[in-house]
Amino acid sequence: MRAGVAEKLATMSPDEQALLRPLVATSRSYYVVLVILGAITAWGLHAYYLQMRYGLGRTGLNRPEYWGIYIIDFVFFIGISHAGTLISAILRVSQAEWRRAITRSAELITVLVLGFGAIQPIVDLGRPDRLLNVLFHPHLRSPLLWDVMSIGLYFTACTIYLYVPLLPDLALIRDSEIKAPRLYRILAAGYRDTPAQRARLERVIGWLAIAVIPIAVSVHTIIGWIFAMTLRPMWHSTIFGPYFVVGAIYSGIAAILVAMVIIRRAFGLQQYFRDIHFDYLGRLLLLFSLLWLYFTFAEHLTAFYGAEPDEMRTFWSKLTGAFAWPFWLMVTFCFVIPFLLMIWRGARTPLGTLLASVPVIIGMWLERFTIVVPTSVNPRWELAGVGQYLPSWIEVSIMVATFSGFIMLYMIATKFIPIVSIWEMKEGREHSVQDVAERVTGYLPEAVGFSPAEPG
């Protein structure tokens, strides 16, 4: 950090100092991690180049296993993206005051991971050069086209929803002149934080929070429908829309928790991500582990009880056959571990939620695997000698590179925007404590005809 910047920082409030420091001070290990992630991402790009050049034959895909890791990752990453914006919007709309510290980091996950999710089906295309045909020759009956539209809308909405609440902080950085003045002059877009501007800003955020909730729900519903609209056994299910939405939010909460634990540690933000946040998010995780179990049980029981032979082939391949390992591992990771940890108050700590969230993230990936692959390899008309899937190193490389690329961009973003919303912390301190007290008073009956001050 340069001396001038340190002086400027020293004149600011403690919140501003703590939250702006990561923008101007960078440790050596940060660069080391960044270089490693960059190398992994470059490796993945190389793998994609080979796939483009020689064809999808370089993957482990075949007939009937037409969709593999790329589509699993697509569902997975878009699922993670439901964390941020949806949780943040719900908490804002319901005026949950504990949201203030966590919304920014969550919204940032959404926007970045959504981009990485949305490129997965493009990586999966046999002819990525003809991608724009979805605009030139749109065929509105196709769920894939609904998906293009809903993800496009969601990405736009989430980006605006991330950017608008950033304005006061961007203006603060611009005015403090601690970093890249020209860049922040553009980014802050002339925002001056006058009372009129602030009122308008909050009104816009309020509208966006409401708009973004149905859009987010539509996105994962439609992803579920991509599968459900086909006549394939164990895909053709009416429950898939809500089942996918619940799974998406579940994996999203887990992703927020992991990100919070890491950010807290890396930037020393223990004062901002407090035990109460982990306790509350841990409760949400517990709720979603139960919802997940409910949907998974309902889905499998319905298939089992109806016992249609084509469905049963896929069903048994999941429960006892070739996919029993990923299936039961999924049940352990998505339900047993998080449930047993999160019902226990003592485990709803940073470490405890981390131990529950990592299995949830892996388990939700496995869930998408056990949805996509067992059905694919068990077509209605059985084929002799096919029905296998072993991903190639190209697919695995692209998957690992997607993770590293996302983490890399997230790390870079933390150097340009405060990872906790400064103005919302300030607003919380200055107004919310009083507002909440008044609100709670408003919940209670007015003390008419009862005056403890005058004992009678």
């Binding site: 034959g57 075949n62 296993e65 046999g126 894939l144 006549l231 209605r380 008309w381 296998q388």
Partner: protein, 227 residues
């Protein structure tokens, strides 16, 4: 209204696979290496599938020549995001190779698993190249292809009939598989035209269609004695 369809008599089929070979040669279908075949990447618009019937020891093997079912209500056409697969005016499900983006959604939606993907660019030995059929376009890598009832032959047949100023007859338009079948098990024609054999055969008491309960309305019928 013309509705091209096929009736395959399983009681006549010997499983010789001449239809498979004729189809590959007619439609410029590339062969793949044994390793690729092992992975499940063979392309066979027409494929003779062997199915075992009955319980041991009273088992028998039955051969199902399997082309595209040419559904009247095709699940693959519905899901294509770019309209690269379509139901044409005669009820044949066609593919537009130059428009397909290779998402393979149609291949997943097809209950009969008869849509094939070009995992690599097609290759032929130099000795085979001169024998490619000039009437059928060669597919690039990364697109879906499938049986088209040899609809390039329909075009020729239409033009011939028009030039001679007459109606198209059954013998004018026959796909390669029906033409080659040594036992005459594959019969092809207009299901709606009473002068074509298929219009009667499809109502035969032995007739059935595969997965009729799905409501896809296939235009390929199979004949089999109930035993």
């Amino acid at each position: 209204m013309t509705r091209w369809g096929m009736v395959i008599d399983l009681d006549l089929c010997t499983g010789c696979a001449a239809c498979e070979v004729a189809c590959k040669s007619e439609n410029n279908i590339p062969t793949v290496s044994p390793e690729q075949a092992e992975l499940g990447r063979t392309i066979s618009w027409m494929k003779v599938v062997a199915a075992e019937r009955g319980d041991f020891p009273a088992t028998s093997v039955e051969f199902y020549p399997r082309p595209c079912m040419q559904c009247e209500n095709p699940p693959c056409v519905k899901v294509c995001p770019v309209g690269a697969t379509y139901l044409d005016e005669d009820g044949i499900v066609g593919q537009i190779y130059a428009r397909c983006i290779g998402c393979r959604y149609c291949a997943n939606a097809c209950p009969y698993t008869v849509k094939y993907f070009n995992w690599y660019a097609p290759q032929w030995p130099d000795t085979e190249r001169p024998h490619l059929n000039p009437d059928v376009s060669v597919r690039p890598k990364g697109v879906i292809e499938k049986c088209t009832f040899c609809h390039h032959r329909r075009q020729k047949a239409r033009e011939t009939a028009a030039a001679e100023g007459r109606q198209m007859m059954e013998r004018d338009y026959q796909p390669a598989c029906a033409e080659i079948c040594p036992t005459g098990a594959i019969v092809f024609g207009d299901l709606e035209n009473p002068r074509h054999r298929v219009s009667r055969l499809k109502d035969d008491s032995r007739a059935h269609r595969v997965m009729e309960d799905l409501g896809t309305e296939p235009k390929v019928y199979y004949l089999r004695r109930s035993n």
